[in-house]
């Protein structure tokens, strides 16, 4: 496991902790423009998880390209 792979793995695991720990967000307050916390919190995780997956994608791609370059050199 290279450091880049560890970070990528953490990025992919984070959403599971975020949304499966239901007790941490099963409440109504604070509301956002009238929407209870329970709903906007989970919807907030959509862009967060997309960003984390993008980071994982870039890390993995960079590592693969470096490895391929290393083989041909």
């Amino acid at each position: 496991m290279t450091p880049a792979r560890v970070v990528a793995a953490l990025c992919l695991i984070a959403p599971f902790v975020g949304v499966l720990w239901v007790g941490s967000y099963a409440k109504v307050e604070p509301t956002l423009i009238g929407i209870p916390f329970f709903y906007w919190y989970q919807m907030l995780w959509v862009p967060i998880s997309a960003a984390l997956t993008s980071v994982a994608y870039l890390l993995v791609r960079r590592e693969q390209r470096a490895r391929k370059g290393g083989e041909s050199a």
Binding site: P15, F16, W21, P36, F38, W45, V46, S49, T53
Partner: protein
């Protein structure tokens, strides 16, 4: 509940329907290869789809018409617990990112078209491959039926479903026409048809959601009013408030996780994934597909809006179409209905293609006609895709709608039981093929029995959450079943390894799981699907 036919909405609906029909037939010529008579062409679109087409195809595939009708309907009926669809679709993408590039690589290296192909190649077991194929087909059939239920809901609200006293043939005629059109262009164009139509579908859906989420709350006096109306309803009904109570939280989490694990193992998700051009296309897609989850979240909130708008329907499936009819001007309601209707056609086409691929490759060719030529495979696949749709139609017309819904629920539990063989197989060969088969059987039997045994709402059977042994909380039945499945698989593997039971032959190597387009042995386009097929395309 019908007060006559909504003429304007119906005209708009028919207009879009005609447009996509023409597109469906023209799709056969889109990026076509010289030789269209092999399963890679018809069933995987030539394996040539790039990032954007794959995005539309997977989006069109995973977020079905039924999703658009059922998720807000669940919120409308049950409140907070229906929102699990959002965390569920959040978790799908990290899972796809981790698992499916490996499946893509090994499939392109060995010309696998289905998950059963892979399982047979990896474990050298026709029995296990058959189990995976049968599970896939069983789980997909009711899913197709539900797409037709989605179209039916829209037709009902437009007033063309007919009343109780209408002759059954007149009543079902619109659905029969929609079905005939779908069957005809899938038959002639294969996977290219839904890929092209998905563009129209998603454009319409995004427009409708964007308008609905701004326009309806303004008309209803803002989200404060919407949620306080919903809160009144659920508190009065004793169904808890706007967030799930402590005893409902395990169910919420396990439903989200279990459904996420199940979704990408459905044959239609795999078909859409394998049709992409490279590993990178899949990974890049997991970073942009969450846009659909955002849309799904907004859509779910429409369930609360239907409550606040005073929509009263006996059949919860009609809540959202009825909300659109009440709130929007007729022409825009027509666009919204077209979005749902076309949204049903895309996944129904992909699902029937995926089920047909499974039958042809893993039942017909493996067990009935081992010497089938690629031309013959394509012909059988096309015919089976028709049969599968006819089966779904009979399902919808002949039986109560709740039967289709119950079977779709079981389908989710069933497809989850192929997880150890498929995902386990992608990473390790340690599992013994007989242990995997036994684990699958235990999971299938337990899941089916437990779901049948659990009451749900007004029904005596087919609940999806029950007591989880050992944890002592209420949770998703599919989740308990997969835990049992893994336990049996591990224990039996240890025993079988100790007894030195013979392993199957593994035709894959470790490097196959990392191969990408451009590597030796990986043809980006059109690898011959079967040994002995003419090489040059």
């Amino acid at each position: 509940m019908n007060d006559g036919v909504n003429g304007v909405a119906l005209a708009v609906f028919i207009f879009f329907f005609v447009v996509v029909t023409v597109m469906g037939f023209l799709a056969a010529r889109w990026r076509a290869a010289e030789n269209a008579n092999n399963l890679d062409e018809w069933g995987l679109g030539g394996r040539s789809f790039g990032t954007w087409i794959t995005w539309f195809l997977l989006g069109g595939d995973l977020y079905t018409a039924y999703t658009f009708v059922a998720v807000p309907a669940a919120i409308y009926a049950a409140g907070a617990s229906g929102f699990f669809a959002v965390p569920y679709t959040i978790l799908v993408y990290p899972l796809i990112f981790t698992f499916l590039p490996r499946l893509w690589s090994v499939s392109h290296k060995h010309g696998y078209v289905t998950t059963s192909d892979f399982v047979r190649g990896r474990f050298g077991s026709k029995g296990l491959s058959l189990a995976v194929a049968v599970t896939g087909i069983l789980a997909t059939m009711p899913y197709i039926a539900l797409q037709l239920v989605g179209i039916q809901a829209v037709l009902d609200v437009m007033g063309v479903g007919g009343g109780e006293n209408t002759n059954w043939f007149i009543k079902d005629l619109p659905l029969l026409i929609a079905f005939g059109v779908l069957a005809a262009y899938t038959y002639s164009s294969g996977l290219r048809a839904p890929a092209l139509i998905a563009f129209v579908k998603d454009t319409l859906i995004y427009i409708v959601i964007a308008v609905a989420i701004i326009y309806i709350p303004i008309k209803l006096g803002g989200f404060d009013d919407i949620f306080s109306a919903a809160n009144d309803k659920f508190t009065k009904a004793g169904a808890g408030g706007l967030a799930p109570p402590a005893e409902g939280q395990w169910a919420y989490g396990t439903l989200a996780l279990g459904s996420a694990l199940a979704l990408f193992m459905y044959p239609h998700s795999i078909t859409a994934t394998l049709s992409s051009r490279s590993r990178e296309v899949i990974r890049r897609n997991t970073t942009i597909l969450p846009l659909y989850s955002l849309m799904l979240g907004l859509l779910a909130l429409l369930g609360f809006m239907a409550i606040a708008a005073g929509v009263k329907v006996e059949n919860g499936q009609l809540a959202i179409p009825q909300l659109f009819e009440n709130m929007f001007p007729d022409w825009f309601a027509g666009i919204a209905f077209a979005a749902i209707g076309i949204g049903a056609l895309v996944p129904a086409a992909i699902m029937s293609i995926a089920a047909a691929n499974l039958f042809t490759r893993n039942i017909y060719k493996d067990f009935l006609r081992p010497n089938a030529t690629p031309e013959e495979e394509t012909k059988v696949s096309k015919l089976v895709s028709l049969l599968v749709k006819v089966g779904a139609l009979i399902f919808v017309l002949g039986m109560d709608k709740t039967v289709a819904i119950n079977f779709q629920l079981l389908g989710g539990i069933w497809i989850l039981q192929t997880f150890p063989a498929l995902v386990g197989g992608l990473f390790t060969r340690w599992f013994h093929r007989w242990a995997l088969l036994a684990g699958w059987a235990v999971g299938m039997v337990y899941g089916t029995w437990k779901a049948y045994d659990t009451p749900s709402g007004t029904q005596k059977h087919f609940g999806n959450t029950a007591d989880m042994p050992a944890i002592g909380e209420i949770g998703y039945i599919g989740f308990t079943a997969i835990a049992l499945n893994v336990l049996v698989t591990v224990v039996l593997t240890v025993v079988l390894r100790a007894l030195k039971a013979p392993d199957g032959i593994d035709e894959t190597t470790a490097a196959d799981y990392k191969a990408d387009a451009g590597d030796p042995g990986v043809q980006a386009d059109l690898p011959p699907a079967t040994a002995g097929s003419p090489g040059g395309h």
